[in-house]
């Protein structure tokens, strides 16, 4: 399942990040790597971008970027 379609407030484990483009590598540099635990905290008014908790920090991610992140429920 992709992070873009993940349920809110659920603990999720990152399984893989598509890194064939520069955006994927930047996501990984920001800490969205295999094995990291994330949680979707909410969405901006028009449903996008997503507010994602990663460890102790919060990120704002667009749906198109969250698509690159493959997750499983913890």
């Amino acid at each position: 399942m992709s992070l873009a379609r993940a349920p809110l407030s659920t603990s999720l484990r990152i399984r893989a990040v598509r890194h064939d483009g520069p955006v994927g590598v930047r996501l990984m540099e920001m800490g969205l790597i295999e094995g990291a635990i994330v949680q979707v905290l909410g969405r901006a008014p028009l449903g996008d971008p997503l507010r994602v908790r990663l460890g102790t920090c919060e990120l704002s991610l667009r749906g198109s970027e969250a698509e690159l992140v493959d997750i499983v429920r913890e």
């Binding site: 540099e29 008014p45 507010r51």
Partner: protein
């Protein structure tokens, strides 16, 4: 601590000799965005920085002397970055600085890496890159108070031991906590680096060494940047400095054949190292503690309440600027008025007096009067940015901004463009994507900056009736003012749409934005931002605008044909004019016959469809270099002598009294509206064009901005004039 590896001691001998002679040592301060870097810089240097900074907090490379140490150490404040693999111009500055590639700056002697105690994992990623730079490193672990509030326990001794470099806990906003850091920096700058390098993937490391071996100028950590390059910049730099394309391609091919993507292997290797370093160093609470910042975010990023609060904040901002600035503006005006009178009384009548009073004093006053507004706007921006709200605003607005090819990141530069497009365009450097950055730069000048305000104030006060609409709750004058601010925004949308589909076409860029914890904004930092905004504005007023004013003055003053005066005094004697009437008629005649007056006459046919005469044309021509010149120019043109400000009664009356040769009033409501719309949209600012050229690296973009804005302004003014006349206004 381990022994230094052999490569850490090379490349330093020349600099060592310099330092032995007592040269000032340089320390570069790097860190992720939102780690309190500027606060730490201020705490270490005591708020002394040498370069003006603009929105984005640290866009320019500022430097300051560290206080409280024996040997002089200069601290370099660099923009925030998540990685030394640069993607935006801001990040490129950091990469260039740490490698000593910044022009006129030697390579730093040591690095100060600031990390956020709450987010050690991600922050140590940049640190792992910094540890490879063959420079001594000191780590400042900032915001330990916030980490404690989140229930995080950090073993600093163990951390320092594992890193092999000093790791010093600080609270940058409390300068008392930084003394140990100063001691560590002094020690670090006096010695060669001794820390071990974080191991990365063995085959990748081998490829880096291999590439570096074949090229004497390339260090292994630089070779990694070239191998892991995604956008071709590092590769181009490597080839330009004489690197072998064959060696690079062969090394990359070997890695990919072994299933190793260098960029991905680098990230995985570094995070594996980070996990090993932090294991046992950070103890998390059993259950995450919800801080007040988290609770606040539930409201401020809420689907409904978030936008409501955002618009509330913007409303208060724009409502507050004008009334708060007014008393200060009146003081400045009164001060310059006194100065002008004193100079006028002291200087003999003639060209010199006119130059000093009408050219210099009135010109500078006309510009400095906007200083209070600019400072208030920058104070607002500083507070909103410092407390962490700006990133929430960017998060909330991203989807809307995407409709015109921008992202939430462009919100901050575009908002600050309402004060002045120059810092806004420089602030666009935080946007990594080139197309998006250029698009932001191109539409920023459409936002109504404070220099347009005098035109609006003058025209509205003189020609828009002072009455209420919508049941008397809303003032018509205020409504027209709001409409003028909206005109730029409304026109910018199709312009952005068009640019995005033509010259700036391309795929959408990424948008990963960190939402830092909220914090109480620092008053001193706010004062600092206001001070630098004010200083750069005053410098601008004192240089570009002053020169423009002098040129305009000269064009409006010369050639001063004596026959004009002769003719008028004969007429005055014949018709029994008073002295005041003669003087006024003379001033008008001088201007009509001046070079500027002739230029105004020359373009009158072009202006006729707008309902403008040559005198308005003179004002428009004179204000192309800097639009705030218009008020003073109109004052001169309408026979009052220069030095009028926009609320002065006589200028308003003179405009109302101005007539066409056939007796019709010149300034009707349609004409006033079309002048305002023209000024709202026209590219009348030499500084903005110069900064566009500098930031885009080409005068082509500045030319495109100038011609497109001026064309749009002309036709919009025409449309408004015609439309308002047809509506019977």
């Amino acid at each position: 601590m381990s022994d230094p590896s052999p490569q850490t001691t090379v490349h330093r001998t020349a600099r060592d000799a310099e330092l032995a002679r007592g040269a000032t040592r340089t320390v570069a301060l790097i860190g992720n965005p939102n780690t309190g870097k500027t606060s730490l810089f201020n705490a270490l240097t005591g708020f002394s920085r040498h370069v003006a900074n603009y929105p984005g907090v640290t866009v320019e490379v500022a430097s300051g002397r560290i206080r409280g140490c024996d040997a002089p150490i200069e601290l370099l404040d660099l923009p925030g970055t998540y990685s030394l693999a640069a993607r935006s111009p801001d990040e490129q500055i950091v990469a260039d600085a740490v490698w000593g590639r910044l022009a006129a700056r030697p390579r730093p002697d040591a690095l100060l890496v600031i990390v956020d105690a709450c987010n050690l994992q991600r922050n140590l990623y940049l640190l792992s890159q910094a540890l490879e730079l063959e420079l001594p490193v000191v780590v400042a672990v900032n915001m330990i108070d916030l980490a404690a509030a989140r229930g995080l326990r950090i073993d600093f001794e163990l951390l320092a031991q594992r890193l092999g470099v000093p790791a010093i806990p600080v609270v940058a906003v409390h300068p008392a906590t930084i003394m140990p850091l100063v001691v560590a920096l002094q020690r670090a700058t006096a010695a060669a680096p001794t820390h071990p390098q974080p191991p990365i993937d063995a085959r990748l490391a081998e490829a880096c060494r291999g590439l570096a071996l074949g090229d004497r100028t390339l260090r292994p950590a630089e070779a990694l940047r070239v191998l892991a390059d995604r956008d071709g910049q590092e590769r181009a730099r490597y080839l330009a400095s004489g690197g072998s394309m064959a060696a690079l391609d062969a090394a990359r091919e070997r890695l990919f054949a072994a299933g190793i993507d260098p960029a991905v292997a680098e990230v995985r290797g570094r995070y594996a190292w980070v996990d090993r370093v932090l294991n046992g160093v950070v103890t998390q609470p059993a259950r995450p503690i919800l801080t007040w910042s988290d609770r606040l975010d539930h409201v401020l990023t809420h689907k409904v309440w978030g936008p409501v609060v955002l618009f509330g904040v913007l409303f208060v901002l724009f409502q507050a600027i004008f009334p708060w600035a007014k008393p200060l503006m009146e003081q400045i005006e009164a001060g310059f008025d006194l100065l002008g009178r004193a100079a006028g009384a002291w200087l003999p009548e003639g060209a010199l007096r006119s130059l000093v009073v009408d050219g210099v004093i009135a010109g500078v006053a006309g510009v400095l009067v906007f200083l209070p507004q600019i400072m208030i706007l920058f104070a607002f921006i500083a507070v909103l940015e410092d407390c962490g709200y700006m990133t929430r605003a960017a998060h909330l607005m991203d989807r809307v901004m995407r409709g015109i090819g921008l992202s939430g990141r462009a919100l901050i530069p575009l908002l600050s463009s309402f004060a002045c497009a120059v810092p806004a365009i420089m602030g666009a450097r935080v946007i990594a994507d080139r197309r998006e950055r250029f698009l932001t730069i191109m539409i920023a000048p459409f936002m109504s900056c404070s220099a347009r305000l005098p035109v609006y104030v003058l025209m509205i006060a003189a020609f828009v009736p002072e009455r209420g609409v919508l049941g008397g709750w809303v003032g018509l004058q205020g409504l027209v003012m709001l409409a003028m601010y909206l005109v730029g925004v409304v026109v910018a949308i199709p312009v952005a749409w068009l640019l995005k589909r033509t010259v700036l076409a391309g795929p959408a860029s990424g948008f990963v934005l960190e939402l830092p914890s909220y914090k109480v904004p620092g008053l001193r930092a706010m004062w600092q931002r206001m001070y630098f905004a004010a200083r750069s504005f005053i410098i601008r007023a004192g240089s570009v605008i002053l020169v423009v004013n002098l040129v305009v003055w000269a064009l409006a003053y010369f050639p001063r044909d004596a026959r004009v005066a002769e003719r008028l005094s004969q007429q005055a004697a014949a018709e029994g004019w008073g002295e005041a009437q003669l003087e006024s008629a003379l001033a008008g005649a001088w201007l009509r016959e001046s070079y500027l007056g002739r230029a105004g006459h020359a373009i009158e046919p072009v202006l006729a469809p707008l309902g403008w005469d040559w005198r308005i044309g003179v004002g428009v021509i004179a204000s192309f270099p800097a639009r705030e010149v218009i008020v003073a120019t109109l004052g001169t043109v309408f026979n009052l002598g220069a030095g009028e400000d926009e609320t002065s009664e006589p200028l308003r009356d003179a405009l109302s009294a101005a007539r066409w040769p056939d007796g019709r009033p010149l300034f009707t409501l349609p004409v006033a509206l079309s002048i305002m719309v023209f000024f709202a949209l026209c590219a009348q600012c030499a500084s903005t064009l110069a900064v566009i050229a500098r930031e885009t690296g080409s005068w082509g973009w500045a030319a495109l901005s100038f011609f497109s804005m001026t064309t749009i302004a002309y036709f919009a003014a025409w449309g408004v004039s015609a439309g308002a006349s047809a509506a019977g206004l």
